[in-house]
């Protein structure tokens, strides 16, 4: 299991348990004493997360002797693990949401409208795993060993623009508040969606349309081509419910839709729906919390 940070270990351990194998963890950043049943947690303690090409090259020799190599289905995970699969000539299954057997894996395709069962045909395979679909099956300390990765490479990072500030990570937040294009502009989006999210200690999400029109930052996009979320509470304000957006939220435990169009498709998915203008509803909701 290749974990970018310690919070990925628990769901990755759940994947290993479903496959039915013992496992070790290569932890790239941060440290932990909780291995969730791992044999050994190899801690690389990288001070910065390297570009995928040099990172994959540094990980490849460490995968010797393992037949299942899995990481998170995050953007970083997809970037690195697929390159790693190419380097070590492994088969690969992306975005695994459930394990049907040790050689058969279920994953969403065609923007989440269809579930495909894929079979691995050789003995060496890489996986990216939807973190929201797996949870830890056991607890317990593991052996810890430090490992050194040589991540020098020819790709240089020349700028970084991180977005979400103090809010929780969208893909792991317990509460997500999302907005669509009706929010009109970035300031209104931040005041209403950001304000409600902060009130609930949640993360901020957005539709593709809201991101494309510059109302919300790129990294907030929720949907099949953006982030996949599965919070306890997902509040969708001014979101009609396109297939590609719903594919990103359908594993949320409770979906609340606020939309002034009573025929918006999102009402068919939402656990609770209210036909209301979000400009009235959100301030009212914030007052009641």
């Amino acid at each position: 299991m290749i974990a970018a940070n310690s919070s990925e270990i628990a769901p990755l351990s759940g994947f290993a348990a479903k496959v039915g194998l013992s496992f070790d963890v290569l932890l790239l950043q941060g440290s932990t004493s909780e291995g969730f049943g791992a044999g050994t947690v190899f801690q690389a303690n990288l001070s910065v997360f390297p570009p995928a090409d040099s990172l994959a090259s540094s990980i490849a020799p460490k995968t010797n002797g393992y037949s299942y190599i899995a990481g998170a289905a995050t953007m970083a995970g997809k970037d690195v693990i697929a390159r790693l699969a190419g380097l070590i000539d492994a088969g690969m299954v992306s975005d695994v949401v459930s394990v049907a057997s040790p050689t058969r894996f279920v994953r969403p395709v065609v923007a989440g409208t269809i579930l495909a069962t894929e079979e691995i045909l050789t003995n060496l395979n890489c996986f990216t795993v939807r973190l929201s679909s797996f949870s830890a099956s056991s607890q317990g300390s593991s052996l810890s060993e430090s490992v050194s990765l040589d991540t020098t490479g020819i790709t240089k990072r020349i700028a970084v623009h991180a977005g979400n500030g103090s809010r929780p990570d969208l893909t792991q937040a317990k509460v997500v508040v999302s907005g669509g294009r009706p929010l009109r502009d970035a300031a209104t989006f931040e005041r209403l969606i950001g304000g409600l999210a902060d009130k609930l200690g949640g993360a901020v999400g957005a539709t593709r349309a809201a991101v494309d029109s510059g109302i919300a930052p790129n990294e907030c996009q929720v949907g099949q081509t953006g982030k996949i979320v599965a919070p306890d509470l997902y509040i969708a304000a001014g979101i009609s419910g396109s297939t590609q957006h719903m594919a990103g939220i359908k594993d949320s435990k409770c979906i609340v839709a606020i939309n002034k169009d009573p025929d918006a498709p999102i009402f068919e998915f939402a656990d609770f729906g209210i036909v209301a203008d979000l400009f009235d509803a959100i301030p009212e909701l914030m007052n009641l919390l």
Binding site: T74, A90, E118, I120, T155, H161, I255, I274, A281
Partner: protein, 246 residues
């Protein structure tokens, strides 16, 4: 400068698709096929690079059945100079596609390979990274801005946290995300002109076989219908009742 643009034929991304009744495949009987939208963004970006650097050759390549000609003609209409169709009806996975593309890249020696981050049918997001690994060249996935310099490319890419800019020496592989550009509408003269552009057909040049295959397709379980509430206070009460609000 030479840019290679791999193009995948996919089911119309805006059509509602469903599995065949026996789950053996996807029902494509009443569905059109299109260029994978992310590949179309890659093709558009290549044309924009050529508009700035006219001494650039754009080669579109597709791997698949004879019907992929349709998508290659579209790529030619957008602005590819010529196209290559690796004709095969073999079952392909991303690894096989990467191996075939690597063989072509070794022959044609493009400075940049620009392709979609994923295809909208399989949603794998693997081929570009695997290709870069096979070529032992740098990669930048999820590109939202591409600036070509002398012997290097600066790529701004979307990340889990925001964006970052990488500087990659060429040759390199760049995979495109949604916000890189808005592909142009191709007018009729472009479509007519594309008919006379060169389209070369070849068989596969490698014999790798797929390491992963899809054995069945099904619909995800539907979510149970929810409840309409008529006021925000009722909503808050329901959420508290369900335990999702403290």
């Amino acid at each position: 400068m030479r840019i290679l643009i791999p193009i995948k034929r996919v089911v119309d991304p805006y059509a509602k698709v469903k599995p065949l009744p026996d789950g053996s495949g996807i029902d494509t009987s009443a569905i059109k096929f299109e260029i994978n939208p992310f590949d179309e963004i890659a093709m558009e970006e290549a044309v924009r690079i050529k508009e700035k650097l006219p001494d650039t050759e754009l080669i579109a390549v597709s791997i698949g059945g004879a019907e992929c000609e349709e998508q290659l003609r579209k790529a030619l209409a957008i602005g590819a100079d010529w196209a290559l169709l690796i004709e095969t009806n073999d079952q392909l996975d991303s690894g096989v596609v990467a191996q075939e593309l690597a063989a072509i890249a070794k022959e044609l020696k493009p400075d940049i390979i620009l392709m979609g981050k994923q295809a909208t049918d399989g949603d794998n997001n693997q081929a570009g990274q695997m290709l870069a690994a096979k070529l032992d060249c740098p990669q930048a996935t999820f590109a939202c801005k591409v600036e070509v310099g002398a012997g290097s490319v600066a790529v701004t890419r979307e990340t889990d946290q925001g964006t970052e800019t990488l500087e990659l020496p060429t040759p390199c592989v760049i995979t495109t995300d949604l916000r890189l550009n808005e592909p142009r509408y191709v007018a009729l003269p472009g479509i007519i002109k594309a008919r006379s552009k060169k389209l070369e057909r070849r068989p596969r040049s490698t014999s790798f076989s797929a390491k992963v295959r899809t054995i069945s397709y099904s619909l995800p379980p539907p979510r149970a219908a929810g409840k309409r509430v008529s006021s925000i206070s009722e909503l808050v009460a329901e959420l508290k009742g369900k335990g999702v609000l403290a």
